[in-house]
Amino acid sequence: MPKVKPHRTSPSLDMTPMVDLAFLLVTFFMLTTKFAPEEAVVVDTPSSTSEIRLPESHVITIAVDKDKRVFFGVDDDAIKSDLLTQVGAKYGVSFTPSQIQAFKGVASSFGTPIEQLPALLNLDSEQRKNVKQTGIPADSVNNQFIEWVQTAQALSRKSAYGKPAYVAIKGDGNADVPTVKRVIKLMQDKNINRFNLITDLETKPVAGK
């Protein structure tokens, strides 16, 4: 009597639909991804019930951390190099082409006085993370902060967007009010009156209970 052979099904299965789906998703994520910009400072924003989203692009971010340091950031790649050379020229600081190139990675958030900026740009990105940045001077004596804002606004007016950028203030929940107010005051002096305060989302309670 011959041995009964168990019916063997092939272990390989048709993976084509799965592969189709996987590549579809890969393509989707590749095209929609915008990498999170590197933040020079950790800011823990307070929460609010506002549901307005921050615009995708064309934003100037001003971060205030709990140690009263002020950080500045632009996201428009097109204006970054002009911004650096123009602000540098005002303070008599010149930059090499490689430093300008490095600035494109730093510009999303930095907090260094312009005099120390070339030294920061000479470092590579790993070393830069370990540098403790002191914040941009923002007071009546040494007001580099408003120079950055004004130059960035003037450049974005000329850029493809044709209008000044949104000003977003990203304050830490434990930041002190005088610093935030001083920053706002400085910009009000230059006729910038609309601000966006960056917050986390919180569910809206029902008013009128």
């Binding site: 995708e56 009010v177 305060l197």
Partner: protein, 172 residues
């Protein structure tokens, strides 16, 4: 593992057959790669954009331009103190009148009720005065309360010396 079968050329003097290749390719490495990329992009994507609260500050008045004063009966002043304390009083503080300072909090039963009570006055103007020691979080919270209670007229004002003294003398 590629399943490419070769039909052996076994026959002597048999017909020469064209080599038949199997159409099946092993897709496992490709799938591995695809899912690796998929995971990478999914994890690096910034999903949620942060939300923002829009604040429009008043335009600087031109020199010589007078701002109309607020009537005391329409004013509600909120003082944001240190350690998350919140005080409020009706009306304005000036040399002659000393309003009664009350303590409140940022919770739903605190300042929100006060604001809703005051909403019966359509002329109401809320003056928000954060103390120098108040946290930025308090300022955001109180602006948020304005949105929740739909209070339309409010202003961020610098705290004054008399206000600070009022907090101190009240002992709240």
């Amino acid at each position: 593992m590629a399943e490419i079968q070769q039909s052996g050329d076994s026959g002597k003097g048999g017909k020469k057959r064209a080599k038949k290749m199997s159409t099946k390719i092993d897709m496992t490495p490709m799938v591995d790669l695809a899912f690796l990329l998929l995971t990478f992009f999914m994890l690096t994507t910034t999903f949620s954009k942060p939300t923002v609260m829009e604040v429009a500050m008043p335009v600087k008045p031109k020199p010589g331009e007078e701002q109309p004063p607020i009537k005391a009966s329409n004013a509600l002043t909120l003082l944001l103190g240190e350690n998350n304390k919140l005080y409020y009083y009706d009306g304005l503080l000036d040399g002659t009148t000393k309003p009664e300072l009350k303590l409140s909090n940022y919770g739903a039963d605190g300042i929100r009720k006060v604001l809703l009570q005051h909403k019966s006055n359509p002329q109401l103007v809320v003056l928000i005065k954060p103390d120098d020691k108040a946290a930025y979080k308090n300022m955001v919270d109180i602006l948020d309360e304005m949105n929740i209670t739909e209070t339309k007229k409010y202003a961020l004002v610098d705290i004054s010396k008399p206000d600070q003294e009022l907090i101190k003398s009240s002992g709240l």
